[in-house]
């Protein structure tokens, strides 16, 4: 079982796909749930207080707007805990959304920079692309236990070593 960060971090569809394969999605909802269940805090709607954007300083400097740091105080620990990641680019609001483009940029950068198995896909625009995206995600999830065990660098969801071999083969094929 692998703990997987997702982007958008509150995508129910991604979380569901991950759970179906026996892994643990690091979804935003669980973090928010923990906060709103805390009886000691009374700062509706999400119990985010002045302290949270200050905690977000771990991920973004003081000159970064408080909204980004507040969001990062919740998303950042999920990224820290991630053993793998799935990033869906160009998704509409309904698929999942954190609302702030700067937070999106920082979150996806931190995930890419983490050197963990990461799958990046583009949000589908038709039925075929949808099947393809789901298959890609499922294949990635199936391979994760092995990928996480391997100790190498990762690029596009595969170990860097394999990626480099692949690039050599592709280059040779082109030359031929």
């Amino acid at each position: 079982m692998v703990e997987i960060a997702i982007y958008p971090p509150n995508s129910l569809i991604l979380a569901d796909l991950i759970e179906r394969k026996g892994h643990t999605p690091l979804a935003l909802q669980k973090q928010i749930r923990q906060k709103i269940k805390d009886p000691e805090i009374d700062s509706p709607p999400m119990n985010i207080t002045e302290d949270d954007p200050i905690k977000g300083l771990k991920y973004a400097a003081i000159e970064v707007p408080s909204g980004v740091r507040g969001r990062m105080s919740i998303i950042g620990p999920l990224i820290d805990a991630a053993e793998a990641a799935i990033i869906v680019d160009g998704a509409p609001f309904g698929f999942g959304c954190i609302g702030c483009a700067r937070t999106n940029e920082l979150s996806t950068f931190l995930l890419r920079d983490k050197n963990i198995p990461t799958l990046e896909v583009t949000y589908p625009t038709n039925r075929d692309e949808t099947f393809e995206m789901v298959n890609q995600i499922n294949d990635f999830l199936d391979s994760l236990d092995e990928l996480v065990k391997s100790d190498g660098d990762f690029k596009d969801g595969v170990p860097e070593e394999e990626k480099e071999n692949l690039e050599v083969v592709e280059k040779e094929l082109k030359e031929d």
Partner: protein, 412 residues
């Protein structure tokens, strides 16, 4: 209850949602979120024409559009985005202008940090609630009868008596004991008239001591200085219609208020650094051995570039001026440098935060320092700066104007 629509990019993520709601509630208003369909967001953004990257800003645009199109009902709008967010600032101003251009709903904007507290928002919420519940008062463009305006500021107390749309007397004294200062000001204001306090139709109070004074004198109007100063400024400048910016560089704090048809819609208030206040100019005039009245004309004769002034701090700033004078620099250059320094700081710390609209109406005691007015205009690229008559009594004039029609003491 006044319904204030919150149009923001996510105040809940900065931990300030509760503070905004608390501030609204304090002034008998409630915060509402315009409800919209998901599909409406893209439609609204396409109509609006701003391609925001952040989806919360798209939501913000859609909420504004739903208010303009009448899909959501609100008495007032509070627009807020994160401080230091460039995209947020662009959308905030675009949305503000869009609502103002297409509705008569009062709007106030704010850029928040996680440190924003309810009391910082009080004056804005009070101003919003006022513009909803007292729109008829703010619409007043002419003073009638005999009214008295009292502005109890942190440094000075100003009193103005008005009769039939004219200022008939003014009083000005340092604020010491609140009520004693008021009575000194009242005596001064009525000195050249045959009237006494018993003859007035109504009393309006504003400034820090407004509530205490208002209660003791049974004032008909007790109003925050945001609405009052804005109204007083556009009234005295003869600019009651259209847009304008009111600048008040005070002894302790500075206010910049943008107004639309005489009603304030945004403002910033600074007061952290004394180097950007009238206090610095007061100290400069003492060091140069001139009165504060002489400082302005003296500054106009000098060139700030000839004086060394490397620090914005009031202490180090004065030290720099001393160094300039010791090196044989002229008093005029030092005066010009002091005025330029204050103008530069106000520009960098406050005017840049606000959507500046011409004309700029400069008010407050420092507006009488001609060198400072010139420096402000130069700083803003030669913008038209209006200093109306009685600009130092702006709050008291605004209070006397707004209370007009509310007071019927003589009828009783």
């Amino acid at each position: 209850m006044v319904k204030i629509a919150l149009v923001s990019c996510g105040t809940e993520y900065s931990g300030v949602q509760k503070e905004i709601e608390k501030a609204a509630l304090t002034f008998g208003a409630e915060i509402i979120l315009p409800e919209i369909d998901l599909d409406y967001i893209e439609e609204a953004c396409t109509k609006f024409g701003f391609s925001a990257q952040s989806s919360s800003l798209k939501l913000m645009i859609a909420r504004a559009m739903s208010i303009v199109e009448g899909k959501s009902k609100a008495d007032a709008v509070f627009i807020a985005t994160c401080f230091r967010c460039a995209e947020g600032a662009l959308v905030r101003n675009a949305v503000r202008k869009f609502i103002q251009d297409n509705t008569r709903i009062p709007v106030v904007t704010y850029s928040f940090t996680e440190r924003t507290k309810a009391d910082e928002l009080f004056i804005r919420m009070e101003a919003l609630a006022t513009t909803v519940t007292r729109r008829s008062i703010l619409a007043r463009e002419k003073q009638e009868g005999l009214t008295l305006g009292i502005d109890s500021g942190s440094t000075t107390t100003k009193v103005v008596a008005m009769e039939n749309n004219k200022v008939i007397g003014t009083g000005w004294t340092e604020t010491k004991d609140i009520m004693e200062s008021v009575f000194i000001g009242v005596d001064e204001a009525f000195a050249d008239t045959e009237y006494t306090l018993d003859d007035v139709d109504g009393i309006g109070t504003t400034g820090y001591g407004r509530i205490n004074i208002g209660k003791q004198l049974n004032a008909e109007l007790i109003q925050e200085e945001l609405s009052v100063n804005a109204k007083g400024a556009v009234y005295l400048a003869g600019h009651q219609k259209g847009e304008a910016t009111v600048l008040d560089i005070g002894g302790m704090d500075n206010k910049v208020i943008t107004v639309n048809d005489g009603i304030p819609d945004n403002f910033t208030m600074g007061g952290i650094c004394a180097g950007a206040s009238g206090r610095f100019l007061d100290m400069t005039s003492r060091r140069l051995d001139v009165t504060i009245d002489q400082l302005g004309p003296l500054a106009l004769q000098g060139n700030y570039r000839n004086a060394l002034l490397n620090s914005y701090c009031i202490v180090f700033g004065i030290q720099d001026l001393v160094t300039t004078l010791a090196a044989g620099g002229s008093k005029a250059d030092a005066a010009a440098a002091a005025c330029h320094s204050v103008a530069e700081q106000v520009y960098e710390q406050q005017l840049q935060e606000i959507d500046l609209r011409e004309p700029l109406i400069q008010v407050g005691g420092t507006s009488l320092i001609s060198g400072l007015v010139e420096a402000v205009s130069e700083m803003l690229g030669g913008i038209n700066v209006i200093v109306p008559e009685y600009s130092q009594h702006i709050g008291a004039v605004g209070a006397a104007l707004l209370v007009s029609g509310m007071g019927h003491r003589q009828d009783k």
